[in-house]
Symmetry: C2
Subunit: 425 residues, 2 copies
């Protein structure tokens, strides 16, 4: 029976019981950090071998480039091949970067601000009166932070399980101030949803009032499946080319959650024209990225099938964690009508929605028991969830026992805050 | 006897003789690249051991930070300690970056453009009508390129063997549009000169009309001595603090020419207030830099004395090359009054000045013989040397026999172009 259909005294009884559990947990003095989507130690260990000297033998790329010296702005051929296979683009449609794809996205927006997008007749965005930017929600806080700090007005558009509300987006882009959008096409952070090919086609082909409209497509989880293999999906760059809008998208990816976060390879992809534009400005910014690390990655991972084989090892570690969360949520909350949650096939997160107005309270309550979740609201522009419902759960980092305990505590907090909200009404 | 004092027919005789040599060289079909300041293979080999797995044992920093995962924006403690010892600042006055210090400088100027310097009452530089920037000349082309592309007006100020013409700079900074300057304090690129403590004090203490005046001090060659040890020099950050202008300078350095160019560590230093400012904005841009590479460097190089010991090995390889250039220039050109050249105690370059109006012709002539030098003018803003005199010689990369041949050819070209210029007059 759903909580909303219970009588007040019944709710109060449950509340008292849950507070007993809550106090027991509180007295344990736990300290669990569930805030960030980090790989766990076992996952990191999968790539330790990459640091072996054997992968650097000779210090030369297949194009006979010395990797220990300056040069090669776009990446050594074997790294370009590896990353282009992973991201489904041609080797001429990609530049291999440093260890942070987020930094590549920041750099790209900075470039648009200071130099423009290279679209004929358009000015640098810093010369525009106002820039508006579409943010599918719930989404990734670090994306929203960049566009917020650059002074863009962020417009939230709800995700619908297969990508964002396209009707809404097609309306929004009739405004020439709307210059672009964020997008995590596969196993989106935090909902885990996979954009449908239909929505990808609509994004690629919609008519935008801004001639220099740009989509920053962060394909961060493109091979981060939990079961058999990555979801099949129409490639966004391919779709843009087919739609006759090849310059609309820049696509980003990295090996951060394949090898080592903070020490992986990043890549940025675009049409050949966009790559040419990018290299023109990149050449002002730096001489080259770390080619030794490129060689190390290319030789360790090999090719696309090598990446998939490696990701299966990750999946084997992660799937039980995702299943454990789902199982506990089911046991504790199924049928109570106080929480919905996602059952992702990949990615790094489970997204939960409480009753309206409860998320911040749940996170605060859990913190009292020593369990830190990402602050409620973080998944929305300006860190403000208008309904105060969404919480991002990151099950990857903690050992499974800690994870299970944290989720049990979460469930108690969800029950308490839901009942308190219902009793208020 | 100087060429200018010779009769025309004497000059013509020499010219004919030099052209005979020139044609002999031309027929050899050589292909030498003297354009960039890159370490040679023997130098790179000095750091191969750094890629051994043994330096990553445990994958944890001394603060027990896992280096294989996200986190630690300012760098692990041992890397901060290493770089702060090298750059002569406190560990709280520094952030360790990625593999490119040039990129840190670009990022810093971009930050000033979009967000301002953090100085109270001052706006982002992109909102200013005009930004002017002081460029000591001859200088580093990549510095000048960044400020040129950002739309600054570049003002050349001559170097005088112990730093720039300070009288001129003190005049220039009375203009509030003059927002800052480039500076390579030690073994400057390309002149090799070391800024005197007096000039450093004047730079640190001069009164600037712009409240948010900033010096980007690229201490790229701080430990890159050729003989016994690095030149003693007043630290620019120290000088700024003493002068009561602690926020005036950001100081940059890297291990690019200590370990591996493109795969080293970079660092940016400033007052604690400036570091706080930096981290605020860096946090928008990225999650962290490559801590695995930080650990590798810190354990391989150890500490300041480890760096100096390592740099002695570089010096042993480089000194004979610098001496060879000097010896040949002396043999071929001493007393002819057609070329002056620097005798640096460190750094990566020898800077030569031809008779006015000859540098471009000399570079073109050398190219006919298959010897590529950095294009004349590169050492000046907008790539324009008003006197067409300066050429940057990079003796480090080629093997010594190639280097010697290239310099002999250069001498022939200098003689030819000088005589042709004198005969014109």
């Amino acid at each position: 029976m759903e909580y909303k259909d219970l009588a007040k005294n019944e709710l109060k009884e449950i509340l008292a019981e849950e507070y007993r559990k809550f106090n027991d947990y509180k007295n344990l003095g736990l300290s669990y950090d569930m805030t960030r989507g980090k790989p766990c130690k076992l996952q990191l260990d999968l790539s330790n071998e990459m640091e072996s000297e054997k992968f650097l033998q000779g210090f030369h790329s297949i194009s006979d480039q010395e990797v220990r010296n300056y040069g090669v702005l776009d990446g050594i051929p074997e790294a370009k091949k590896l990353m282009s296979e992973m991201l489904g683009v041609g080797t001429d449609e990609l530049v291999v970067g440093g260890s942070s794809s987020l930094n590549l996205m920041y750099d790209m927006l900075v470039r648009f601000m200071l130099f423009g997008t290279g679209t004929e007749g358009c000015k640098p965005w810093s010369k525009e009166e106002k820039i508006k930017w579409i943010c599918p929600v719930p989404g990734y806080d670090r994306h929203f932070l960049i566009t917020e700090k650059l002074g863009f007005e962020l417009i939230a558009v709800p995700l619908q399980g297969d990508g964002p509300d396209m009707d809404r987006i097609e309306e929004l882009v009739k405004d020439a101030n709307v210059k672009g959008m964020w997008m995590i096409p596969k196993y989106s952070n935090p909902t885990g949803e996979v954009y449908s090919d239909e929505k990808i086609r609509r994004l690629a082909s919609m008519k935008t009032a801004a001639k220099d409209f740009r989509i920053l497509c962060d394909d961060a989880y493109t091979v981060h499946f939990l079961k058999n293999g990555p979801a099949k999906q129409l490639n966004m760059l391919e779709a843009c080319k087919e739609a006759g809008n090849p310059e609309r998208v820049f696509l980003f990816g990295s090996t951060s959650k394949i090898t080592f976060p903070g020490s992986g390879l990043s890549a940025v992809c675009g049409s050949e024209k966009n790559v040419k534009y990018l290299l023109t400005y990149l050449n002002i910014q730096t001489i080259c990225y770390d080619k030794i690390n490129q060689l190390r990655h290319a030789r360790f991972l090999g090719d696309y099938s090598g990446i998939i084989a490696h990701m299966k090892k990750h999946a084997k570690i992660l799937l039980p964690k995702f299943e454990a969360v789902d199982k506990i949520l089911n046991e504790e909350l199924n049928g109570l009508g106080i929480l919905t949650w996602t059952k992702p096939e990949g990615g790094y997160f489970i997204s939960i929605d409480t009753l309206p107005g409860c998320a911040a309270a749940v996170v605060a309550k859990a913190k009292e028991c020593g369990v830190k979740f990402t602050p409620a609201g973080s998944t929305f522009p300006y860190k403000k969830d208008p309904d105060d419902r969404n919480i991002r759960i990151a099950p990857t980092l903690p050992p499974i026992q800690e994870l299970e305990a944290a989720i049990r505590i979460l469930c108690v907090c969800v029950k308490i805050c839901s009942i308190e909200k219902l009793l208020e009404a």
